[in-house]
């Protein structure tokens, strides 16, 4: 029995290594000089240039017209992540409330329209989406960056499922107490959904933060660049014909994943609950 447990741990440890080692190598290498990486390959242990590399990446102008540095890109990513998750929760909690708790003729028709938005990811309708956003004068704005991403109804779908799982007796009891639709939503349903909202918030924050293609198209103004699309600039740079700044590229990759990873780590419990129950 004990030996079996030992192999179990071994398998789990191998799994952990498989997942974490690449990230470690990226971090460790980012603390070396680019020449070291160029001559000896990626590094497995921390070097002496952590502060130098990271302060350069975070604060130095990276050669665009304006002073675009990682701090600005991280800020933009944060706005995108927060705006996306908050916006999505605001819109979807009330939309799902209407669908589940109201009897109205067009209800199921609307539900199907909303549901149909799950069919076509942004990637395959990207040019018309761009045209729409620009017709509305929303290019180079956080609104234009965020709203089209919210158009997918994943969260609405989830809240619908969640509300349907709320026992009917609660509504009955509330009605006996004379609660109207507004009071029921604010005083009863929202408090019940608290954990779920937190969970969805975390998941959506990560999804928003990790957007790649849409920000590349949307933002022609460097002050709106996000850190994940910064990766694209690095790649172009690496393929160009100057000395590759491996250390900085690695550092930016690490910085791009750090905030969502921290969020997931800190709110582990909610996030897992949300994932399992939302089922996207």
């Amino acid at each position: 029995m004990h030996r079996i447990k030992l192999t179990d741990h071994l398998i789990l440890i191998l799994g952990v290594l498989f997942l974490l080692l690449p990230i470690w190598v990226v971090f460790a290498s980012s603390t070396h000089r680019p020449e070291t990486i160029l001559n000896q390959g990626l590094q497995f242990w921390i070097g002496d240039y952590f502060l130098e590399t990271y302060s350069a990446v975070l604060f130095d102008n990276t050669g665009f017209t304006q002073a675009v540095n990682a701090v600005l890109m991280l800020k933009n990513s944060l706005i995108l992540g927060l705006g996306f998750s908050v916006g999505k929760i605001l819109i979807s909690t009330i939309a799902a409330y209407a669908i589940v708790y109201f009897r109205f003729p067009a209800g199921s028709f609307f539900f199907w329209i909303i549901f149909s938005s799950l069919l076509l990811p942004l990637e395959v309708r990207i040019i018309p989406s761009y045209e729409v956003v620009s017709k509305l004068g929303m290019l180079n704005s956080y609104t234009g960056l965020i709203l089209p991403l919210i158009a997918s109804a994943t969260a609405t779908f989830f809240f619908r499922q969640f509300y349907k799982s709320v026992p009917e007796e609660i509504l009955e009891a509330a009605r006996i107490d004379g609660a109207g639709p507004f009071r029921f939503f604010v005083d009863i349903l929202l408090p019940l959904s608290k954990t779920m909202i937190a969970a969805i918030f975390i998941i959506m924050f990560v999804v928003g933060w990790n957007q790649y293609l849409w920000p590349i198209l949307m933002t022609t103004d460097e002050s709106y660049f996000t850190v994940v699309m910064g990766i694209k600039q690095i790649l172009n740079d690496l393929e160009g014909n100057r000395i590759p700044q491996y250390n900085k590229a690695l550092a930016l990759s690490f910085l791009a994943m750090l905030p969502p990873v921290m969020v997931v780590l800190i709110f582990q419990r909610w996030f897992v609950k949300g994932l399992v129950e939302s089922e996207k």
Partner: protein
Amino acid sequence: MKRQQFDSFTLPYLLIAPQLAIIFIFFVWPAAQAVYQSFMLEDPFGLASQFVGFDNFIEVVSNEHYARSAIFTAIFSGLVAFLSMAIALLLAVKADGILHGQSAYKIMLTWVYAVAPAVAGMMGVFLFDRSIGPLNHLFNATGWPFNPQLDVFDASVTVILVSVWKQISVNFIYFLAGLQSIPRAVREAALIDCRNGFRRFWTVTLPLLAPTGFFVLVINITYAFFETFGVIDTMTRGAPGGGTATLVYKVYQDGFLGADIGGSSAQSVILMILVLGLTIVQFRVIEKRIHY
């Protein structure tokens, strides 16, 4: 539908209005545009366009590279889903079985979820680099003339590995939750009836896990279809020989980079139909899970 509901004439419309507005403006309108354009032939700058019926579709479907890309997408999605699910399931079963340190493993196995596909791809670029990448050196050291720049198989290995790596965490979370929702009584009964752990897994655990498994499969296929865009764009851009371009990447490559809007709209519509099928399956599975 015997559920109790409120009756109000205007309130539900007000509540649903923001969501509907966003969906109409940013989903229905562009999607309708895509369908419309799939029947049109237009110059890249949109200065002139003409109706061409199903020509765009015929051209897409008869193109041998589109067929190749479809085959690659199927193999790629199948492998990514299978491998990431198999590894995650193994880890979940092991994590479920141990008592000490389970939460530590759980934390360490889940947070890769938060890494963006594009960032994962970027890490892949470094790890598989011809001169600085340790994985490249490792493969070469085993006698494998690893050459992802030229060899489609090797390049596929790199994008599949990175895509699998990125997806294990999510699958692990679902599988572990699925395992832990199996009632204690059932587990104990199984433990008594069936002493062989491997057989117990096949005959008791796996069937009970099937609904979760099916759901995870759908999620993984969706992931492999769409979200791996970032991985492919950073790592291979469909090279070598167009051998690692998924259907979604081709939409981007032909329509966006190549400025052929009619052709890429036709590809979008084909994908739309594919995803429609997938979503119907997904919807059914979710409904089933909610009801039991």
